[in-house]
Symmetry: C2
Subunit: 457 residues, 2 copies
Amino acid sequence: MSEITLTPEQQEQLIEDILEAAQEKDVLRTEKLLKELVPEQIAQLLETTPPELRHFIWEHVEPEHHGEVLAHLNEEVRTKLLETLNREEIEELAEELETDDLADIAQSLSDENKAILLEALDEDERVAVETAMSYPEDTAGGLMNSDVISVRGDVTIETVMRYLRQLGELPDNLLELIVRDRHNHYLGVVKLSDLLTHEEDTKIEELLDASKPAVLVLTPAKDVAKLFEQNDWVDAAVVDSDNHILGRITIDDVVDIIREEAEHAQMAQAGLDEDEDIFTPPLVSARRRAFWLGINLLTAVFAAWVASFFEDTLDKIVALALMMPIVASMGGIGGTQTATIIIRAMAKGVLSGPNMRALIRKEILVGTLNGLFWALATGAFAWWWFGDALLGFVFGAAIFINLVAGAVAGALIPVILDRFKIDPALASGLMLTTVTDTMGFFALLGLATVIILRHSV
Amino acid sequence: MSEITLTPEQQEQLIEDILEAAQEKDVLRTEKLLKELVPEQIAQLLETTPPELRHFIWEHVEPEHHGEVLAHLNEEVRTKLLETLNREEIEELAEELETDDLADIAQSLSDENKAILLEALDEDERVAVETAMSYPEDTAGGLMNSDVISVRGDVTIETVMRYLRQLGELPDNLLELIVRDRHNHYLGVVKLSDLLTHEEDTKIEELLDASKPAVLVLTPAKDVAKLFEQNDWVDAAVVDSDNHILGRITIDDVVDIIREEAEHAQMAQAGLDEDEDIFTPPLVSARRRAFWLGINLLTAVFAAWVASFFEDTLDKIVALALMMPIVASMGGIGGTQTATIIIRAMAKGVLSGPNMRALIRKEILVGTLNGLFWALATGAFAWWWFGDALLGFVFGAAIFINLVAGAVAGALIPVILDRFKIDPALASGLMLTTVTDTMGFFALLGLATVIILRHSV
């Protein structure tokens, strides 16, 4: 019977034990416990451990796992740990890792160490790593691996099987072989399972699946992920514009892309960088975040500046000061709901013109309906709270106006940002609150000035 | 040479053409163009198309793709489209789909149609679908498929190859066979590539990889996703607590889980449900969102109520009304940054006690540093704006207090929610703004009352 994987509770316990052992500088116990984790788990442990313990743990990871762990670390943490490696350890990396990971890591190395790494590779691998490094990291070329096994269409299964036996070790997760012509052009794939279920004298071309396309080397990583998802691929060949086979992308790298995309969206909303070490020294971290706080301060000050034109009104009706944040917040929330729906629909990548317009119309209608409902509810509430029907009316009307404004801004801002190639996840929230704060203050104070003050004069 | 997949621009054009054809009720053109999309793309198109056109397009999807399209639709849209199917079409689903998808879809069918579907299945499949339906959807049992190919360890490669040839069609993305004993207990796996590279008289047990564990049937889906990611699996066997083989999970279903998790996190932040049809009728959609707006209103009113105790102060210093939203917003942004870091670190699943405490300490320190910096900057600014040093001091001090409060709340709220098994993505933002709004108003108005009013009396 095979071992069952650890439950999340057991994993948590194991992590705590490792931290305890590391804290006590218990080398033997740390090393023993670390052996129970796979490299990806070690990478996560290192990312979520403060620097002092992190280095101790890192030094006691089995050297043959160094490469895999580095491959799974985020950029900032990886760069720091790479600085601790000596020549021998860098040379060891060269032996362990596949070319896509080597290319990734090489980019975080100092020039000197990069040279050591490249020298330690054999000719084929060095060419492969240098090729991978020549493509942008976030394209098919940056994701691909050089461990392609390709065969010609005019040979028999028997020949292929002999060839595979000669190769000895085959790449992980090998599902199909790539079929090429004599000039290394991509023709399609043949499944390993088809090789097994056909007679040995069958020609490869009879089993060829020519309908599976290859991925162009400059395809953006997020489009590669979409192709894999839409077609349920486990791997795919990468070709240049002349259809020459360059490498192979496997699903495990695509899964990492999908995770990173999701993390990026989440972090960008708060103006954070997903590549940052969560244990960056506080002063550095504070400085980086100050920028985002500063931008936000500007938008809040802008809204306050608009409100400042109504100081006389505020001076006369102090209840407005209590209402201002409520009006702004309702518009902001309503607008965020709309913007989230629009951003998600855009991310699916199939929201074209007519559908987008239909969705925007629907969202504005939803905002209007909620505006009407909450205008009545909040208006009645304010009437009761401040005992002033006119003030209740002004409050309700401002809520209505700001919920509609929020829906309109929430629908249009992501579309406009996208058209200007600005990441909607990053900037939508900020622009949206600028609109809803300013519009909320303006509607509330403007209406109060026009309706109540003029009325009472 | 094989066809190259569509570029995103071509895909967009194709989608627009389909919508145009559907708008013009051009049946032939719609059908022809739809053939260029894979089922997952058709599903995305249907989700992002308003109901009138959606039904027209759906009716012209090739019937043999109905099943795969349904399998990729979100629940609400799927349920609506299933209602349009007649008996014959439901029976057709039974033929096309794998048992995991059938179990999913069956749960959205009326009882009558569910019976039709189950009757159309053969004995084995019906048992498999009913088994899958008996496990919660978000567990390994709900994800698994019954298309397991398992072999005994004491047979030779030759026997296995004969068996595979008899089976004829093999499941998609078959990378390895599951090895069992005579009582259907899970022993491990054997790679197809190993079958190809060894002599035919080799026994399976010699090639057995017993180190790959099976997944327990009640493992939560998100833990299954983690196992696949950490171990770079493409498939895995599912077993019951007695280690009997029940089914198999493949990476394509895991990729869907990862996407859904990311969508859930994104939507939950705005109080939205990722299973909702984006074209839900506006009135229904408005009613659903009203709940979230209502909760937010309560928190905003609470903060205003706290501020209302300082009405006298507000009445005397009207500039405070302009400062209130700024103080609240700075604390909210700072707190959101901290909460995002903590939520992300928790999602990695390895943030245990000591590391969590170190991270919380670091975040509070970052908040304090930014608090100091922005207190000086905003204090000086307010002094200049309102020409009042004391008011500048009060404003800066309130900003400092609220940035520290935001960091503390942003660090602790997700941890506390998690301990109470409440989804931090859903409730953190709301609770955080409640804290930062209330604390911001209290600090600003309280300090003004104590320092300026007392001072001036």
